[in-house]
């Protein structure tokens, strides 16, 4: 049991990471949709999005560290950081590494958003739409518990939640509540014709 505790932690942290990450993605999409109600103000969506994202990092690091230090797996740090360098399940672990590194880029750029500028931050944040599915496929491909009923239920629920959020996001289109006011102001300071 003393050895398998690391292995169980890896599996458990992986499942928790999937749930947290999916929740963070859904909250992120909801914040772009400006969802709100009297009991759920918009700052709650963004604050939860941010804090759960940091919590996700904690569980993701736990998932990776316990997998690497588990003497039974003998993965090595290189396998955890270099995609497709693992002797063990090269493809599926490699996808996990890619997903982790994309998420690391997204989190780090968010922490230094003020220095980076909004446009670059936003472009990198779009990588979430790659990081999340790659992570899900990693779990489906290599998860020890993938075929257990409860893990299937968790994965299905996460995919459904994010899927619905994406459908809502796409169907909402690119509406901008400031578009009219902005166009109005810009027309007053627009001298392109005169130049």
């Amino acid at each position: 049991m003393s050895n398998s505790i690391l292995w169980y932690t890896t599996r458990g942290a992986g499942a928790v990471t999937l749930i947290l990450l999916s929740t963070v993605v859904v909250l992120g999409i909801l914040s772009t949709l400006r969802v709100q109600s009297a009991s759920w103000p918009r700052f709650l969506t963004t604050a939860l999005h941010r804090n759960l994202a940091l919590l996700t990092v904690v569980f993701l690091v736990l998932h990776i560290v316990t997998a690497v230090v588990d003497p039974f797996t003998n993965l090595g740090w290189a396998a955890a950081l270099i995609p497709f360098s693992s002797y063990y399940r090269r493809l599926w672990l490699g996808l996990g590494v890619i997903s982790f590194e994309l998420l690391a880029a997204i989190v780090i750029t968010s922490l230094v958003r003020g220095v980076l500028g909004h446009r670059a931050w936003r472009a990198i944040h779009w990588l979430t739409y790659a990081a999340w599915p790659v992570g899900v496929v990693h779990g489906l491909g290599t998860g020890t518990d993938t075929l257990s009923a409860w893990m299937l239920a968790i994965t299905a629920a996460c995919v459904a939640a994010v899927g619905i959020a994406i459908v809502l996001r796409i169907s909402a289109g690119w509406t901008d509540p400031l578009a009219a006011a902005r166009a109005d102001f810009q027309s007053s300071v627009d001298r392109r014709e005169a130049r």
Binding site: L178, R182, V189, R192
Partner: protein, 376 residues
Amino acid sequence: MALLGAPDTSSPLPDVDRRLIDAIERFRLVGRGGAGFPVATKWRAVAQRSRGNAVIVVNGAEGEPRSKKDRVLMAARPHLVLDGAFIAARVLRARRIVLYIGERHHAARDAMLRALAQRPEPERALVGVSAAPARYVAGAEAAAVHFLNEGIATPTNMPPYPFERGVGDAPTLVQNVETLAHVASLVRTGTAPSTALITIAGAVARPGVLEVDSQTTIADAVQMGGGLAGPARAVLVGGYFGTWVEASQAWSMSLDPSAMRKRGLGLGCGVIGLLPISRCPVCDTAGIMRYLAAESSAQCGPCFFGLRALADACTRVAERGSNPDDLKRLHRWAAEVRGRGACKHPDGAVLFLSSALTVFADDFAGHRAHDARQSA
């Protein structure tokens, strides 16, 4: 060398190089456009990146409603401003100078163009002229760069900063006209000018532009402006992004940047506005907040919705009388908006509002309904 009042002539400039930046730093020149940013820091950032391709934007947009000092300086001492621009161009190895002058400042633009025509050809060939739209945010550094690149004078996200990627993607110095005159004065005399320009407005006999030194108190400035036109209640120091000060505390205050900084104040754009006791501070504050909200370029929610909500709450207090809900909202929203904008417009507006809520706390708490439009 005085800024105003001295004859404006052009004579060949002494040789200047990068060491001028050290002198600027030693004399602690700060920008006179409003933000008071250290000039040497800005110049060094451009100098480090310039490969002989830098651009100098001479900022005479002066969109601040009560300010007149930039256009008075351009009209009276155009050669001194041009000197500053040409010095910057040499030190920063610039390829181009753009005179960005407010589209309604006709006398200033005409004087600058006349002075430019008297300059020798190699200098003159560097210079282009551009008319800044008459809106509050058009004078912001990023708005000037955006305008010169795209023709639309709205502030943009920073970074990239103008010194990194400005006009035509080249390292760009955007500097207020008075600041450039200070630099020219430093080069011509070997010492920084001991004076600065302010605009005195409101309850004074002769509102207008004054040249003051660091010993001048606000009371002195009022005397120079012909004395009070009536008893004053408070003084707005630094224009619409500035700070209210109780009149009784303002009189003895000297217009010295370092002394002002110690009191948490700044000369800002140099507007000293005197509020007469005949006017209601709550209604005037509401009027200015409505103006600043309307000047939002609507690029981000905190500015467009935040300033509008603040202006509406101020106006409700002004028109219907004080109520605890709106007072609570004003304090909370002012704190929430700060630092959230895509540019600094909302920060300036809530700084102004916060000082009004502090200095006029009793007026805001006990305000009785009267029509805001009469006063504001």
